[in-house]
Amino acid sequence: MSTGDIAIEGVTKVYKPQSAAPVHALSETNLRIASGRFVCIVGPSGCGKSTLLSMVAGLMRPSSGSIRVGGALVTGPGPERGLVFQEYGLFPWLTVRGNIGFGLSCRGVPAAEREAIVDKYVNLTGLSGFDNRYPSELSGGMKQRVAIGRTLANNPRVLLMDEPFGAVDALTRESLQDEILQLWRVEQKTILFVTHSMMEAVYLADDIVMLRARPGRVFATLSVPLAHPRRRTDQSFLAFYSEAEETFKQEVGRHS
């Protein structure tokens, strides 16, 4: 068994608000993701896709079932499962370097080694020359590059991304998509990527997991039969995109 594989078995999540009926955010979900795969989770809002990601990250406990990463049961957050948020979550009082080195410094990586790793990810994420800027001085796209670099610097086995490109403009979004594919090729991580854009999923993923809402439930898993690099204008790309969109609309359209 490889170390970056994710096994989600019988996982459910029920929220119990104090003064209202329980909300079934996610009904029983089973997923097996092989190490090194790029998996996109697509679904409408309220389908529990972010909930699922938070549970893999360990920020939330499942109501039942278990999640294992590399064979180890997830009981809380850990550096082997890096999470990238839509709203970046950069520490505003740290520079780009400080942010990228945060996890390393918390885990007691010696300064010299830390600096070398930070240098590597500053370069990999195209942030050279901006090392000593504060987050407030960066554009949205650059902030997300810092957040990705910060997560990768920790050398996680799994990269969890929660609509990471949802807050940037369309052009930046496309270039970030190419950058994450490039990083994925270099770094060989398992990536679990939540999005509500089917186009984004078809462009990026090996596998697409589709969820519907109320209650959140996986209703389809598709493998994307397209080799990288993909082009959004190729016939084969558009054909598969229509097929995926059709599958999605049939289920989600009918029930929501």
Binding site: L59, G76, R81, L83, F85, G103, S136, T151
Partner: protein, 255 residues
């Protein structure tokens, strides 16, 4: 005309107007001495050493009271801000005392601590405590939960999350508390010195009134203004340096 020149001209015009009014004979010069006389008296007091003695006495009181308040308020605020149980114990008590104007406690403070230094330090400490405590608690309590989550997924321990995230998030609010605290300390200082003292700028003002030396009293008033301005300017500098990452920092005068 640039802004700096306009501001300087406004100050000069004010001083000229004051001088002209004082010399016009509309008011007794005992009640309103001209600024030239105040400056002359100030120079005499300064070169004679009397002014510095009063400044030093007042400054020592303010800084002692403020330091004691900071040492109590900031740690207590951090603890109360991060522990819901302690917050619910401390907060109602603080809210009970907070609306009481510090001057109302002055007679009691004299009763409890005598007319010496202790009662003055007590009043200053008491006044400076509240803004520092309340702002520390607010800063710690309103930490961005996303940053705490980010830190935990990056492998930070609970202690590291506290020192590297929660306290850093609280810093801007803490800075506001410190500046407000010092402002309150100054107000309390003057009040305490007006009532019962034998040295300090408040005493200088009170003593001058009793002997109709208005010019001397005004030197005390101006000295307090200069002192407060200087201390605030130092704090603003320190704050700018410590919070350099925060672009929207306000340099507004908080006193």
């Amino acid at each position: 005309m640039n802004a700096r020149l306009t501001r300087l001209a406004a100050v000069v015009a004010f001083v000229i107007l004051w001088e002209a009014t004082a010399r016009s004979g509309w008011f007794s010069s005992i009640l309103l001495p001209p600024p030239s006389l105040v400056a002359e008296t100030g120079w005499k007091l300064l070169t004679g050493g009397e002014l510095l003695k009063h400044v030093w006495t007042s400054l020592a009181r303010v800084l002692t009271g403020f330091a004691i308040a900071a040492v109590i308020a900031i740690p207590l605020g951090i603890i109360a801000g991060s522990t819901p149980l302690l917050y619910n114990i401390v907060d109602p008590i603080v809210e009970l005392f907070r609306p009481i104007p510090v001057l109302a406690l002055l007679p009691l403070a004299i009763l409890w601590f005598g007319i010496g230094e202790a009662s003055k330090i007590f009043i200053i400490t008491y006044a400076a405590f509240f803004p520092m405590f309340i702002n520390t608690v607010a800063g710690v309590r309103y930490t961005d939960p996303m940053l705490v989550q980010v830190a935990s997924t990056l492998g930070a321990t609970r202690a590291q999350i506290f020192t590297r995230v929660v306290l850093m998030c609280a810093l801007p609010s803490l800075a506001v508390g410190i500046r407000l605290g010092l402002g309150f300390a100054f107000l309390a200082l003057v009040a305490a010195e007006l009532i019962a003292s034998t040295a300090g700028l408040g005493y200088l003002i009170m003593d001058s009134r009793l002997t109709f030396q208005t010019d001397r009293g005004m030197v005390g008033v101006v000295a307090l203004g200069v002192l407060g301005f200087a201390i605030n300017a130092i704090l603003v500098r320190v704050e700018r340096w410590a919070l350099a990452w925060k672009q929207d920092i306000s340099a507004a005068e908080v006193k």
